[in-house]
Symmetry: D2
Subunit: 259 residues, 4 copies
């Protein structure tokens, strides 16, 4: 059977990245602190560069690599090692892998102490090759209360759900726990959110948010300040998006920083 | 060239609906009051029933019908007439067409009077055949402030963006304007939302929302009460969805009613 | 602290369903055959009817119920039992719960025998109350090759990815395995799809699809025929959606049937 | 009324971009060739950098700027001028605006000549400031037939819908028509797609796709080759995504190039 992908072609553009996307596959995700694993369904995007003189990559090897790895606990360090191995498997100079999944954090309602599990969106992004990258991405929901609305209104203040996202690039030997990063982000908001709140908790959340107003600009600056203090963070992007309760649109702010 | 779709087959299941979906096509949408038209990009889903003894429908005729209609102003009455004609074109006993698009309403900020254009999501749904349907669907964003949070908290009250949806089935001779229905829905919320608010407007919206708290249950009951008063409405579904600012999940309530 | 939700109100509309939606929570999903469980992240929508004389439901109890259940294996039978218990917890006449998640099936490439894991989208839907419902919903991707294109073309035939969906309502004592239903649906297509195919597998899939062309109408009728043979299925909806490779839109067909 | 946004704060992080996102607003989009305008509903994201010593931006001015512009024909040149003016309005050193909308192209079926309108997804992206950007983004659907499947199979060949995307950064004085770019992209595929095809057209599309197979790597290299020939293109990104008909996942390839 002929191997069409191996056909030689006239020299042309090298391909920056070619591979498989929108792949749903199970993952046994591991918090980088190593304390906890969670099995879930991840979205994978896996690619390799392709030299100008090679016509095609080996698409089935991407899936075979994920199949071989899917029952082993994988934190960000393991994800980077997986990506490095993928480059070899694909006979490529490098590889990049992005893996998105939902992680659940055990949280306690602030007054009643009721336990529930709060989703956060995690992204492991690794790049193997000349400029390696190990990046932990995380989005948490939180509550933002508008300082302007509070200051100018005789009563009340508009507030809304806000999505806080950090993408933190780590030094080779650094680790960063999902829960650690999630709590860092929540501490920048007017209040965290919780899946399960009794009335006494709802009173507490309402009042601390009122006492701690923050513009979207304040949110992202607080995030940047705390992210810049993280040991092992060589670069980060912080973004806050407020789903405004007085508009049908959102407000956003973003800070990128490299040490 | 043989016509495979016309091939006779052994008697088998009749098909409830077969046709074309996820079709993006321009529409010159008309408010049923006839005062205004807006050209935009709609999503179309068009189907017909297929008898048990016919193998296939004529897929290209669905698109040809939309092509022929796309430059003529189309309100809900015109949409129903289009659907009735589609049944004939497809040699079917009936037809059903669902058309979704964004409509913009000219609104004024409540104090400063600044003008802006606020999106709402409109659905025309028509069914031709033995049980004809003419339905106007509409979703508007609005603001909902929690009565419980207000009552139990010493200061502030949590509030959030809420999506209010009505699907109103109209009698054959009835009309219902998009703006009329949008204002009806907004009047059920703690406050409308606006694209453009100056500080004096923001103060106003904050305060009237604080003075007019509503649970998701209150929202949907107010909607049902007002929808049940609409002349020409033979049935409706009302649904409110609050994007809770104290949770990462939503709260919803739904009422269906047929006269 | 006052309980605003318990406030009595003037008689008004009863609410068909009120509760919590867009809730992400872990589930230990169980194939109804009981052979396998998979932990993953589900989307939950939980609601109860609310009588006309009660102002509000107890929102936190929905989340507490999911929290209490999330570590116990849950198949469709367990999901129905959960829904029945939820109605009692909420002091309501009934309850409805819809839970969506991704399930992975272990599949083998048809010639090489390579193993991989193929996603399918599962929905457990239960309604407790006067008209109870136990429904298994499933969407699988498959391959559809056009009979018309094959018949009229001198070479080749257009084919595309197709999404095949069944929603099967089961009798109280009936069971239906996820993998059983997935294989039933795949058997209606021109060919199954696989995450991992070597060249000999790709040749096989290409040729069997070419030998087994099917219109979207054929797909849905084959599905209906096989679903109507399922012991314990009291009703079903079958839908096929072809992501046409010669169009930017889709073609669909749907059959609903109740015994 | 106090202006909280103007409050001075201790020096801290400058903000890379702050503004408004997920804003739906009408646009009178203009093909840069100036031959045609289309009114539609766009998604807007508008941001400005914010110096370290300013607490907040003026959120309402973003919406006011779009409101003031929405009835004037806007091509990419006008979009860049709008962005430049926005920086002044917001008293910022620069501004960036991304505007996404659906544009319809009048196309003819290849044999029958039937006319229909085919959607494409357009993005105008402008950056004003020290490093100005004028970028036209475009995604078209097309058909890709697999060379490997064709070569190794005794009959048929798998093919699928493919999304071809180009983002082309233009020199200040350059223009690039939407239809020109769309035809360039389509010419790289195994075949274009059409909304409306009669049987003779379907035969034609099937056969020319069979005669013109292309890997996802071939697609993106053809795109890069033609984009690199465009006068006035200072940089581009080309990406092809095949919605594989033999898998439930996609294959992708990407090339970035700067002159």
């Amino acid at each position: 059977m002929i191997d069409v992908q191996a056909t030689s072609v006239a020299p042309q553009f090298a391909i920056e990245s070619v591979g498989v996307s929108a792949l749903r596959y199970p993952i046994l995700a591991q918090d980088d602190d190593g304390r906890e694993t969670q099995r879930t369904a991840a979205h994978w995007r896996l690619g390799v560069p392709l030299a100008a003189d090679r016509r095609g990559t080996h698409m089935s090897r991407f899936v075979a690599a994920v199949e071989a790895a899917h029952e082993t606990p994988m934190g960000l360090a393991g994800h980077f090692a997986f990506t490095t191995a993928l480059a070899r498997t694909l006979e490529a100079e490098g590889a990049s892998v992005t893996t998105d999944f939902t992680w659940f954090r055990r949280v306690r309602a602030p007054v009643s102490g009721h336990v529930s599990h709060l989703e956060c969106a995690v992204t492991f992004r690794s790049v193997a090759g000349a400029q390696p990258v190990r990046e932990l991405g995380l989005t948490v929901a939180a509550k933002a209360l508008c300082p302007c609305s509070k200051a100018i209104s005789d009563r009340g203040a508009h507030n809304q759900r806000s999505d806080l996202t950090a993408r933190v690039e780590l030094a080779p030997d650094a680790t960063l726990g999902i829960d650690t990063l999630a709590r860092l982000l929540e501490s920048c908001a007017s209040s965290p959110v919780y899946p399960l709140l009794k009335r006494e908790d709802e009173k507490h959340v309402t009042e601390i948010a009122y006492d701690n107003p923050a513009f979207v600009e304040d949110l992202v600056r607080r995030m940047a300040l705390r992210l810049s203090d993280l040991p092992g963070a060589v670069a980060f992007v912080a973004e806050a998006v407020n789903h405004e309760s007085i508009h049908a649109h959102d407000c956003f702010a973003r800070i990128s920083h490299r040490r």
